[in-house]
Symmetry: C2
Subunit: 418 residues, 2 copies
Amino acid sequence: MRQSALFTKTRREAPADEVAKNAQLLIRAGFVHKEMAGVYAYLPLGLQTLENITNIIREEMNAIGGQEVFLTALQDPSVWQKTGRWNDEVVDVWFKTKLKNGGELGLGNTHEEPLTALMTEQISSYKDLPRYVYQFQTKFRNETRAKSGIMRSREFIMKDLYSFSKDEAEHNLFYEKAAAAYARIFARAGIGETTHKTFASGGSFSKYSHEFQTVCDAGEDVIYIDDATGLAINKEVYDDEEVYKTTGINKATLREAKAIEVGNIFTLSTKFSDPLGLTYTDAEGKRTPVFMGSYGIGPGRLMGTIVELLSDEKGMVWPEAVAPMRFHLVSLAQGDATVQQYADDLYDALTKAGASVLYDDRDARAGEKFADSDLIGLPWRIVVGKKGIEAGALEVVERKTGTVTTKTRAELIAFAQA
Amino acid sequence: MRQSALFTKTRREAPADEVAKNAQLLIRAGFVHKEMAGVYAYLPLGLQTLENITNIIREEMNAIGGQEVFLTALQDPSVWQKTGRWNDEVVDVWFKTKLKNGGELGLGNTHEEPLTALMTEQISSYKDLPRYVYQFQTKFRNETRAKSGIMRSREFIMKDLYSFSKDEAEHNLFYEKAAAAYARIFARAGIGETTHKTFASGGSFSKYSHEFQTVCDAGEDVIYIDDATGLAINKEVYDDEEVYKTTGINKATLREAKAIEVGNIFTLSTKFSDPLGLTYTDAEGKRTPVFMGSYGIGPGRLMGTIVELLSDEKGMVWPEAVAPMRFHLVSLAQGDATVQQYADDLYDALTKAGASVLYDDRDARAGEKFADSDLIGLPWRIVVGKKGIEAGALEVVERKTGTVTTKTRAELIAFAQA
């Protein structure tokens, strides 16, 4: 895309009321727009980044047998009343609204209830199990505190998968598959090394749940990391001696760190299938409740975490797999028709070679262009200037390391195709 | 996808309270689930269909220079108060809700206000114009009447594009481009021949707007079609003699028809840029209000219209470009290992050839499979039975026409690659 045509501009300052580093950088670079506290719109570069993250998650969910659906934001109270979660004292983040022709509705903050109710129409026999169903859907949470940018917002897209199994043994097999898929997602998104599978409290039906926690000073959680295994323990179960017996982890060697919860997986057992009547007939003809699990990742939170973790004093640093474009082609033409022609041609050639390119064809100073390029943080900057053209090799700067190399036009095309 | 693994099942009857033909068929075929009146969830086959429609629209919007964003559902009253549209007497479809820490919020039923406000940060000079910005975003409308299935729902995805131009002349150029793009979308979606560009009332700032109306008895609108030009006139301006002077259409030859509004394009002029202060500095240094237009299509309504229009007594009939899969491979193995092996192999080969295939590998009677296949309505049914295998040519049934032909395995693979 030509930057002169892109409708967003970079800005020097984030809004004064924005305290989160991720939102400050994303707003300055034109990736997101702050609508109000805790509510952010995604602009073209931000939406493309979010889409790239979404696609990684979708691929991994499909690979473990997930089937995608799109449930609704508007929620009928009746199904939530069956589990007791319509009550504002039980779930304190509801947004509620009213139908014009009478009756209250809620805005979905999670989707266990409606999906479990829906599955009663689709599951009747053991032959219908197991099933894995997921969606990317906007969740609404009436947060009183919304100061973490896109990492904790009042309206955000969430990938939530729910598993429906015949029994605990079948559930456990999928639970481990899902954990492995989550590890792959965070690795592909570029934060695998600092993300730890973490034991956390399991609620009323299971001893533990698992979180995926990314070590970062901006995190709201405290975890204790076992460097030998890479596993971690959430502070909430740190004093529970059971956890050390179960896991074999040595409490004495743990290292404390602040962390961001980027995903969680949960054994639900029959917590929802019991009150909502989701049962199946087993091979012996007996009605049995379906054994469930839930698995969540917020693509926006993941995007915010990447910004918090990988940015530097100049701006953002996107990993290749999530960057909105791979290359930032920066023309230093400034009125020189030969340079501009060369840059135009190279842009066309790189695009034709299949590369995603942001082409800074604007009539602006080199310093301004480089500052914008650092802020936006695409993986590779290609600089088209008179000197490079004459030398037959252009400067290529890796954003992550700052390493400068030179490449001929042919080498650049080959690189773009790689 | 193997139908035995698909979590949705077909059903004989739609819910008793569902009166719309589109929703009845979509529910029976397992494409959508009715959450409550006017609120529908999309299940795998329905979501894939919706995605196919969305992608056609996205391609056409990108082709005319649209840049995609994702605005928010939660709406801050302050920006709507500036245009007077926060008032429930002015806009009667608001869902409103409350923040826990005080203050009322709305759920977006359209996005002129927030996008115009956002653009004040991005547009300052004539060099920043024109700009075209669009999104696919959930809209919420508190409809008292919601009896048209997915064609008029309380929560639905809408593609809304907004154009920002320097003046009316620049606007008009884009307006015609957008109209042509809309015509291409409806043609690609398979309803081009019965969809008419229709003159409708223009509101306060422009003489006319244009709707795209698809002739269908389930429609809520009445239009008058000029068969000579293919243009139509909405009943609301039928008695306005101006429309005949402007268009040259002969009122005497018009044909009345019921129709569904599948899209609309609107000249907004400075209706929103004035109150929200969206101005630019022109080449002479004068501050000038930006001239706007809006362009909407509901992918769900389009999907519902296709069902209303193209279904028959046996079920739905999807055009190739929007069908969730192109082929329905129906195995009549029923315990015959040779037939099942042949069908399994053919499924793998067709998939490898790049075709999208729903493979009915279920252990069920032929009659049940054919009835389900007719109901689901994929374009091509391939029947794998003993007779066909022995004859070296399988039966291929075109859903639209019912035409039966036979094709060898090699011919099927070539067809799948086409």
